[in-house]
C-alpha cells in the first residue's frame, strides 16, 4: 500500500476520536441516570428515560 503511514494515521485518528466521544457520552448518561435515580422523588411515578 502506498503512503501507508498517512492512511493509517487518518484511520487511527478517526477511530480514536469516534470512540472517545461515544464512550464519554455513554458514561455521562449512565452517571446522570444513576444520580437522578438516587435523588428523584418522582422516580416511582414516571418511567425512567
Amino acid at each position: 500500500m502506498t503512503h501507508l503511514p498517512y492512511v493509517a494515521a487518518s484511520y487511527a485518528l478517526a477511530l480514536v476520536v469516534g470512540a472517545a466521544f461515544a464512550v464519554d457520552a455513554w458514561l455521562r448518561v449512565r452517571r446522570a441516570a444513576r444520580r437522578l435515580e438516587a435523588i428523584d422523588p418522582r422516580r416511582n411515578r414516571e418511567p425512567r428515560g
Partner: protein, 248 residues
C-alpha cells in the same frame, strides 16, 4: 410565528417527554451508526480500488469528506438551535447548542487533521493558506469560541444568549466554505459530488463514501442525542438539589 406553532415547538421542551422519546430513538441511531461507519471504513480501506493517480492516499477521503460534511452540517445544527434559543427561548435548544459545540469542533479538527495527512503526500504541504483551508480553520475557531462563550457566565441563560449570537454570526462562514473552491483559485480541488452533475468519482469508490457519510452522520446524531439526554438529567439533578437545599 403564530402562537399555536410556538406552543407545538415547546411541546418538545418537556424534559420527561424528551427523555422518553430520545431513549427509544437512541438505539436506532447508535447501532446503524456503528455498523455503517465500521463497515464503510473497512470497505474503503480494503475493498474499494486505489485511485489511478493518488494510489492509496486517496482512501483518506472516506474519513475526510464525512468529517468535513459534519463540520459544516453540525454548525448548521448549532445555528438552528441558536435561532430557537434566541427567538423562542426554547430550553432544550439551549442545551442542544451547548452539546453540539464540542462534537462539531472534534469533527472539524478531524477534517483538518486528515486533510493535512492527505495534503502532505499529495500536494507536498501539510498546510496552505488557501481560501478553503482558511475558511474551515475559521469554522474551527467559531466552534471553540462558542464552547468558551456558553460556559463563560455564572448565569447559564446569559451564556446561552451570547453563544446563540455568536453561532448566528458564524453562519456567514458556511457559504464561504462551500463556494470558496469555486469563487477563488485554491489549492484544494472543487467538489466531487455536486447537486447538478454526475459525481466525478467512480461508483466503486462512491458507494463506500456514501456509506461512511451516512454512518458518521448517524454517529454524530447519536452522540449529540446521548449528550443531550445527560444534560437534561444533569439539569434536573441540579434543580432537585437546589430544591432540597432550600427546603431543609
Amino acid at each position: 410565528m403564530s402562537p399555536a406553532s410556538g406552543r407545538s415547538l415547546h411541546r418538545f421542551a418537556n424534559p420527561g417527554r424528551f427523555l422518553r422519546i430520545s431513549g427509544r430513538v437512541l438505539p436506532f441511531l447508535a447501532v446503524p451508526a456503528l455498523v455503517l461507519t465500521l463497515g464503510g471504513l473497512a470497505w474503503g480501506l480494503f475493498v474499494a480500488p486505489a485511485d489511478y493517480q493518488q494510489g492509496d492516499a486517496m482512501r483518506i477521503i472516506y474519513i475526510h469528506v464525512p468529517a468535513a460534511w459534519l463540520a459544516s452540517g453540525g454548525y448548521l445544527g448549532l445555528a438552528i438551535c441558536a435561532l430557537l434559543s434566541f427567538v423562542w427561548r426554547h430550553p432544550l435548544a439551549d442545551l442542544a447548542a451547548v452539546e453540539i459545540g464540542p462534537v462539531g469542533a472534534a469533527f472539524t479538527a478531524l477534517c483538518l487533521a486528515t486533510g493535512s495527512l492527505w495534503g502532505k503526500p499529495m500536494w507536498g504541504a501539510w498546510w496552505v493558506w488557501d481560501a478553503r483551508l482558511t475558511s474551515v480553520l475559521v469554522l474551527f475557531f467559531l466552534y471553540l469560541g462558542h464552547i468558551a462563550l456558553v460556559r463563560a457566565f455564572d448565569e447559564p441563560e446569559r451564556g446561552y444568549r451570547a453563544g446563540a449570537i455568536l453561532a448566528l454570526i458564524g453562519v456567514v462562514n458556511l457559504p464561504i466554505i462551500k463556494f470558496s473552491v469555486d469563487w477563488w483559485n485554491t489549492l484544494h480541488q472543487p467538489s466531487t459530488i455536486t447537486v447538478t452533475g454526475a459525481p466525478s468519482m467512480h461508483v466503486d469508490m462512491l458507494w463506500p463514501l456514501l456509506v461512511c457519510v451516512l454512518g458518521f452522520s448517524l454517529g454524530f446524531a447519536a452522540v449529540v442525542t446521548a449528550r443531550l439526554r445527560a444534560a437534561v438529567m444533569e439539569r434536573r439533578i441540579r434543580g432537585l438539589l437546589l430544591a432540597q437545599a432550600q427546603g431543609s
